[in-house]
């Protein structure tokens, strides 16, 4: 049963960590409309994470788990999100100021992840876990808008100015190796697939690769190689960046446990 909770936490952590990253643009968006768009995107993802954490708390039946406990009182090794989603919005692996955020990285990541989740949520609508199926039905509708939004910006920036093209290409060159983690086998996913509650992500690989190839071609971008180190975020072994994300996200809740508005 712990395996299945891990699978739900994996889905929830993916949504929460990307939401936290995308929310960093709040008040700093390149234009007002994009500031609003990323805020809405992050809200959808937080909503999905909340429903999934509530479901985990219900499945646990321990009387003390709650969405807040799961989001704010677990540490880095407990988080099961893809490493891709915790990376800062920039291609340089150096600590830099907020002003160095690159919207191309944000859009490339949202595109790569949403193109996968459109298929994952679509398939999970038939999950043998009725509550997960219900969450999937809602998330599927939302992620289609996220994909459309990111897809349009990949086209616009890729097939834009010399600088936007260069930065969009650099974003995909940087992020593509992190997508290998999607396809690595994990015990929690295998167990969830076996019971019919989960879906096998690897079944979506061909369709995902075709979506990415089509969009990059339309955006006049080169399809980068995805070889390299295979990250292990979903196994709880993360990059150095997740600790900083959690520190910012969790500090208030930990300083004031059980505080309410």
């Amino acid at each position: 049963m712990a395996g299945y909770q891990d699978y739900l936490l994996h889905l929830a952590d993916n949504a929460l960590i990307l939401a936290q990253r995308n929310a960093e643009w709040c008040g700093h968006g390149p234009i007002l409309e994009e500031d609003l768009a990323l805020g809405n995107n992050a809200l959808d993802l937080i909503g999905q994470a909340r429903m999934l954490y509530q479901h985990v708390a219900t499945v646990r039946k321990d009387g003390k788990s709650s969405e807040d406990l799961l989001a704010f009182f677990r540490d880095v090794p407990d988080f099961k999100n893809y490493t891709l989603l915790e990376l800062p919005h920039r291609t340089a692996i150096l600590p830099t100021s907020a002003g160095d955020r690159d919207y191309g990285v944000t859009m490339a990541r949202n595109f790569l992840f949403s193109a996968l989740m459109v298929q994952v949520w679509g398939a999970l609508e038939k999950s043998s876990d009725a509550q997960l199926a219900a969450i999937a039905a809602k998330s599927h509708k939302e992620v289609q808008y996220h994909l459309r939004h990111a897809h349009d910006w990949v086209l616009r920036l890729g097939d834009g100015t010399e600088e936007s093209h260069r930065r969009m290409q650099a974003a995909f060159d940087y992020l593509m190796p992190f997508t290998q983690e999607f396809w690595t086998e994990s015990a929690m996913e295998t167990a969830a697939v076996k019971t019919g509650a989960g879906v096998d992500v690897r079944a979506f690989r061909a369709e995902w690769e075709a979506t990415v190839a089509d969009t990059l071609q339309a955006a006049t971008l080169k399809l980068p190689s995805s070889v390299g180190f295979v990250t292990t975020g979903k196994f709880g072994v993360h990059s150095e960046h997740l600790g900083f994300v959690l520190a910012e996200m969790q500090s208030l809740a930990r300083a004031h446990p059980e505080a309410v508005w």
């Binding site: 992050a42 429903m51 969009t215």
Partner: protein, 193 residues
Amino acid sequence: MSVDAPSSVTALPDGPVAQAQGTDAHRAIWDVLESVTDPEIPVVNLREMGILRAVRQGAQGLEVVITPTYSGCPAMGQMEDDVVSALARAGVAARVVTQLAPAWSTDWMTAEARDKLRAYGIAPPVKSACAASAGANVIAFAPRKGLVQRETVACPQCGSDNTTEISHFGSTACKALYRCLACMEPFDYFKPY
């Protein structure tokens, strides 16, 4: 918002809820809740929006079933509070239950809700959400699964179809921002969901 697992007590309707249903006690609750409006769009009530799904007899007494719109809609908590306080004011004892399935759809918005939205300056969803996703495979740029097709949205001010999308995401999760090229007014568009 705390979400309850799917209940087997009664199957919820999968479509618009046109009017009060059930016994006299149930109808009295429906009548009370006619006054509870969407906090962001105060011209439509929760039944017209398709958020209020059922009034039913649960294990612990009467239950009012609502369903969330967008997963992260910050107005859901307010709506739940508004339902509870409207029932309390009317002296009705009923529990509010949030249920996810079947997933809310803009297809459930009643015809009167669409007219009220238009009169309020928000273009209602053009086509059914099901039709929108069925058309997702024929989008011109990248004919791949999951991309939402664009639709022709009529200006709620002048009625012209000559409109353009400014941004996919507008002032709330459920809306996109459009501009009319005939009367030059910007307007909100309630996206199909």
